[in-house]
C-alpha cells in the first residue's frame, strides 16, 4: 500500500467475525517463533520416544538374553504411559504460553485497538495451540508405534485397535491439558503461576486424591478419573482408580474442557486491556 494515499472505505463484510484463519495463522506464527517453547515441546515429546527406543534397542543388542526386544505391545504401552504424563506437561506449557503471551508482552492492548472482537482473539489460540501440540504428539506417537512394531522381534506388536485407541487417548490428554491451561492462564493472567498450579494439581494433587476412596463420588468429577476411564486397558495396567460409566467420563471431560475455556474467554472479553 501507499500510506500517503487517502484513507479507504470502512471495511465491510465478515472480516470481523469470530472465526478467522488469518488470526489462527498469526497465533501459529507466535508459537513457531518461540524457540524455547518449541524446544520444550520437542524435549517432552519426540525426543524421549527416540531416546527410549534407542536405549532399549542398544540394551537388547548388547545382551539379548537379559533384555527383550525394544518393540512389542508391552513396551509400547509403557512408552505411552510415559508419553501421557509428558503430554500433560507440554499441554500446560503451550496453553499457558498462549493464554498469557499477548497480555504479558502488552500486545493484547494493541490487538484490542484494532477493533477485532476479543472473543475472536481468544478463540484463535485454540486451533493454533492444538495444531502445534497435536503435530508434536502425532510425531512422537508415530515414533513409538513404528519402533514398537518394527522392533517387536518375536513378541506381539501393538494391535491396530490399541494404536487407534492410544492415539485418541493421547490426543484427548493433549487437548484437555492445553485447554485447561489456556483457560486458567487467561483467567489469572500469569504464565508462571498457571503452570505451577496446573502441574501441581494435575500431576500431584489429583492422582493422590483419586486414591482416597473416602472421597466417594466426588472423585468422579475429577478429570483424572475420566481420562483413566477412557485410557486403553493395556496402557492403564492395574485398572482405573475410580469406576465410572463411559457417559459420565465423557461428561466430565466435556465439563473440564468447556468450563476453563468459558472462564478464560469471559476474562479476555471483560478485562481492562
Amino acid at each position: 500500500m501507499n500510506t500517503s494515499t487517502v484513507t479507504a472505505e470502512l471495511p465491510r463484510g465478515r472480516w470481523n467475525t469470530r472465526r478467522s484463519p488469518r488470526l489462527v495463522r498469526a497465533e501459529l506464527l507466535k508459537v513457531r517463533k518461540r524457540r524455547g517453547l518449541l524446544a520444550a515441546i520437542l524435549a517432552l515429546t519426540i525426543l524421549p520416544m527416540i531416546v527410549a527406543y534407542v536405549i532399549l534397542a542398544i540394551l537388547h543388542g548388547v545382551d539379548p538374553a537379559k533384555h527383550g526386544p525394544a518393540g512389542s505391545a508391552h513396551n509400547f504401552a509403557d512408552s505411552l504411559n510415559f508419553l501421557g504424563a509428558l503430554t500433560i506437561v507440554a499441554g500446560i506449557l503451550v496453553g499457558a504460553t498462549l493464554g498469557t503471551g499477548d497480555l504479558g508482552a502488552g500486545v493484547f492492548r494493541e490487538l484490542v485497538v484494532t477493533g477485532r472482537s476479543r472473543l475472536a482473539l481468544f478463540a484463535a489460540r485454540v486451533p493454533a495451540g492444538l495444531g502445534v501440540l497435536l503435530l508434536a504428539f502425532g510425531i512422537a506417537f508415530s515414533v513409538s508405534a513404528i519402533a514398537a512394531t518394527l522392533l517387536a522381534g518375536p513378541l506381539d506388536p501393538p494391535s491396530g485397535r490399541l494404536l487407534l485407541h492410544s492415539a485418541g487417548w493421547l490426543g484427548l490428554l493433549a487437548t484437555v491439558s492445553f485447554v485447561i491451561a489456556l483457560g486458567v492462564s487467561s483467567l489469572i493472567s500469569s504464565r508462571g503461576t498457571s503452570i505451577g498450579i496446573l502441574l501441581g494439581w494435575l500431576l500431584v494433587a489429583m492422582p493422590l486424591l483419586l486414591q482416597i476412596g473416602s472421597l466417594g463420588v466426588f472423585r468422579e468429577t475429577m478429570i483424572g478419573a475420566a481420562t483413566e476411564r477412557l485410557e486403553p486397558a493395556a496402557v492403564l495396567g492395574d485398572g482405573a482408580h475410580v469406576p465410572m460409566s463411559l457417559t459420565a467420563a465423557v461428561l466430565v471431560v466435556a465439563a473440564w474442557t468447556i468450563v476453563p475455556l468459558a472462564a478464560g474467554a469471559w476474562r479476555t472479553v471483560t478485562r481492562d486491556a
Partner: protein
C-alpha cells in the same frame, strides 16, 4: 470538501467531528480520573490533548479505544457510537497508547503481520508501505528485542497505519525520540494531517503541542478546562506590550498609573507592560504610546508580545490552583 472526502464519498461523515464525547467520566473507586469531559475534535486537524502528568489524558484515550469502560457519558468515534459500534469505528483508527509494545522474539515485520491479521484483509498489503513511511524498511526483519526505544516508537507508528486510519490517536508519541527523531516526527504528523487524516496528540509537553497542533484542549485533574485553536487560546491570555523609550525611568512612571496597565516592569530591553484584563488591547496600547509621546519621550521600540500557549497554560493552571 477536501479531495480526501471527495475520493471516498464520505461527505456525510465529514460533517461531524471525528471524536465527540459528552459527559465522559471514569472513576476508579472514589477517585475521578476523567470528569465530565465534553470533547469535540474537528476532522482533518492535529488536535492536542494537553495536560500535566496524571491529568487523565491516557485514561480518556483508553476509553475511546475500548481498552477500559467509561463510568458515565457517551462517545462517538468517526461518527459511530462507542462501544455500540466500536469495531466499525476502530477499523479506521490507529493508535499508540503509552509506550508501544511488541513481541520481542518476532521481527518488526512479523509484529505488523500479527496486527494486520486482526484487521481487514487489505491491511497485510499495507505493511511494506507503513514500514517505509516510518523509516524502518531496512530494519524490518530484525527482532524487535534489538530495537531501540526510538525504533519501537517508529514501529508503533507503522503499526498504527495498517488500518489506513482516518484518525490517529498518539499518546505521548515523542517519548524516547532524540531531537532529530522528534523533528522528523512532527513533520510526519503534519504530513498525516495534510493527507486528510486527523491526529489526536496527547502530551504533557506544551512546546510539542504548540508546534504540531492546530487545536488544543487543556486538561487538568480529569477536566477539560479550555478548548480551542492554539491562536485563540493564546490570544485569550493576558496581553502585554514591550516599550523602549529615550528615558525608560520616566516612561515607567508615566504608564504605571494608567488604568489600562495591570503591571509594568523595567527590563534590559525596555518596559514590559501587562495590560489589564478588562481592557481592549489595541486602544490600551494606543493610549500608552500617546501618553509617552505627549510626555516628550522618543519611542524606540513598541511591540505587542504574543502570549505563548505555555504562558496561557500556566495562567489557566495557576488560576485553578488558586481556586482550589
Amino acid at each position: 470538501m477536501s479531495p480526501h472526502e471527495r475520493v471516498n464519498g464520505r461527505a456525510r461523515e465529514s460533517q461531524g467531528f471525528v471524536v465527540e464525547t459528552t459527559g465522559l467520566t471514569k472513576r476508579f473507586g472514589d477517585r475521578v480520573a476523567v470528569a465530565d469531559v465534553d470533547l469535540r475534535i474537528p476532522r482533518g486537524s492535529a488536535f492536542g490533548y494537553l495536560g500535566p502528568n496524571g491529568a487523565g489524558k491516557t485514561t480518556l484515550i483508553r476509553m475511546l479505544l475500548g481498552l477500559t469502560d467509561a463510568s458515565a457519558g457517551t462517545m462517538h468515534l468517526l461518527g459511530r457510537p462507542v462501544p455500540a459500534r466500536r469495531a466499525e469505528a476502530l477499523a479506521r483508527v490507529g493508535a499508540i497508547v503509552e509506550e508501544p509494545r511488541f513481541h520481542g522474539f518476532l521481527t518488526g515485520r512479523e509484529n505488523l503481520e500479527i496486527i494486520a491479521a486482526a484487521r481487514e484483509p487489505e491491511a497485510h498489503a499495507r505493511i511494506d508501505g507503513a514500514l517505509a513511511r516510518a523509516g524502518l524498511a531496512h530494519r524490518a526483519d530484525e527482532r524487535v528485542k534489538r530495537y531501540s526505544l526510538g525504533m519501537r516508537q517508529r514501529l508503533g507508528v507503522a503499526r498504527s497505519l495498517l488500518g489506513d486510519p482516518e484518525l490517529l490517536i498518539l499518546d505521548e508519541p515523542t517519548n524516547g525520540l532524540d531531537p532529530a527523531g522528534i523533528h522528523e516526527f512532527r513533520a510526519m504528523i503534519r504530513g498525516f494531517v495534510a493527507e486528510g487524516r486527523t491526529v489526536l496528540l496527547s502530551s504533557h509537553l506544551l512546546s510539542e503541542v504548540e508546534k504540531i497542533c492546530d487545536e488544543v484542549a487543556i486538561v487538568d485533574s480529569g477536566r477539560v478546562v479550555m478548548q480551542g485553536s492554539i491562536a485563540d487560546l493564546a490570544r485569550g491570555g493576558q496581553q502585554s506590550v514591550l516599550v523602549a523609550t529615550s528615558d525608560d525611568a520616566r516612561a515607567l512612571a508615566i504608564v504605571s498609573g494608567q488604568r489600562a496597565v495591570d503591571s509594568a516592569t523595567p527590563g534590559p530591553d525596555g518596559i514590559h507592560i501587562s495590560l489589564a484584563k478588562d481592557v481592549e488591547a489595541q486602544p490600551a496600547a494606543d493610549e500608552i504610546s500617546r501618553s509617552v509621546v505627549l510626555a516628550g519621550l522618543a519611542i524606540r521600540r513598541f511591540e505587542p508580545v504574543q502570549a505563548s500557549l505555555e504562558q496561557r497554560f500556566l495562567e489557566i493552571t495557576s488560576r485553578l490552583e488558586e481556586a482550589a
